[in-house]
Symmetry: C2
DNA sequence: AGTATAGGTGAACGATTGTTCACCGTCAAC
DNA sequence: GTTGACGGTGAACAATCGTTCACCTATACT
């Protein structure tokens, strides 16, 4: 296990960066100077960052999970190195401040493979493009549907043939765009 | 904005906990003792934790995103308090060490609403229960399917009528259970 | 042989850390 | 009116922080 992996594993279990003294034993050195040299390299390599003053800051690397291309390749042996990794949170969330989660209620988007009980990641906004899945206020009620626009008219389409398109009587206000979905088994 | 929110917002932007000096200005105090008292309260309340020695550790609260029950309730006004929140990563990942991500290739699980291009969260294991979605090695090939067992026989079922069940000729080894799915738009 | 260079030790440094103590005002309860 | 709890100030504390310097030992290159 190299220095980077040791750092990451420390961070994951302790939820913070180690101090230089802790890295002494973590890396197996006897001099803090040796640690400082290692850290200097890691900072240059972009593995970790340093604060305005000194403190070590983790990069997104520190919360990543192995990403294997396809199921067909199988799993790597435990301990075997993986080159591609993914940070789940930053994959799903682009703008944290304006992001909200919703629990899906109903099957109106089932043909888009958004099922009852799924959780959608939505980003607050007031505009959308044709084909976006949006959360909108139609005549006072909120729903999640496909956003459609044609010849200046706007309406919402469900992804379920048992439901009908929704044409607003008075108003259709977009409040959020659905950026992702997740589901747990 | 109360102390807890200030801490969280500091942590989210700086990726680490503030020092007592930083909290001095963050909270608007003039004495570190005032800070210490606040922290003491927050530790009791379980908002933050302390290390084996002194250092402040964030709880899962620090990476959470507002979770709104249902779409029908709409979005809260910006700045309005939300009581329910969710940590995406810990929602999807239970055992980090044995968790792997796969990009889904093909439509064989489409009726389970796992589509081509989705990313599945899989947990390495060697046993599964009837109905689990598993990644398995069947006669040398890896696939993702429903795991079925009856009368001592084991086989795999796709979630797509265009595909046939897979009965192993020689071996069927489970390598992982699918614990979740995610998709980005 | 001579000499960089990389990677390590060991000791020292001032700065900052988290903690603790004595003290002070305000408010509510008795 | 006195008391006690609460929330704050200000100053001090040893311990630890990250940094830096001189030095040592291999290995590789002229």
């Amino acid at each position: 296990m190299d220095y980077q992996e040791k750092l990451i594993s420390f961070y994951q279990s302790r939820k913070r960066m180690p101090t230089y003294s802790e890295m002494l034993s973590l890396f197996g050195f006897k001099s803090k100077n040796a640690v400082a040299r290692v850290i200097e390299k890691l900072v240059e390599a972009g593995v970790v960052t340093k604060d305005k003053l000194g403190k070590l800051i983790p990069t997104s690397l520190f919360d990543e999970i192995p990403l294997l291309g396809s199921v067909k390749a199988g799993l790597p042996a435990p301990g075997e190195a993986v080159d591609d990794t993914l940070n789940i949170e930053s994959y799903l969330v682009r703008k944290r401040e304006s992001t909200y989660l919703f629990e899906v209620d109903g099957d109106s988007m089932i043909d888009a493979h958004i099922a009852n009980g799924d959780i959608v990641i939505a980003e607050r906004t007031s505009s959308a493009r044709q084909g976006d899945i949006v959360i909108a206020n139609v005549d006072g009620e909120f729903t999640m549907k496909y956003f459609c626009t044609k010849n200046g008219k706007v309406w919402l389409e469900p992804a379920n043939k048992n439901f009908k398109p929704i044409y607003p009587e008075h108003e259709l206000t977009i409040v959020a765009i659905v950026r992702g979905v997740m589901r747990k088994y």
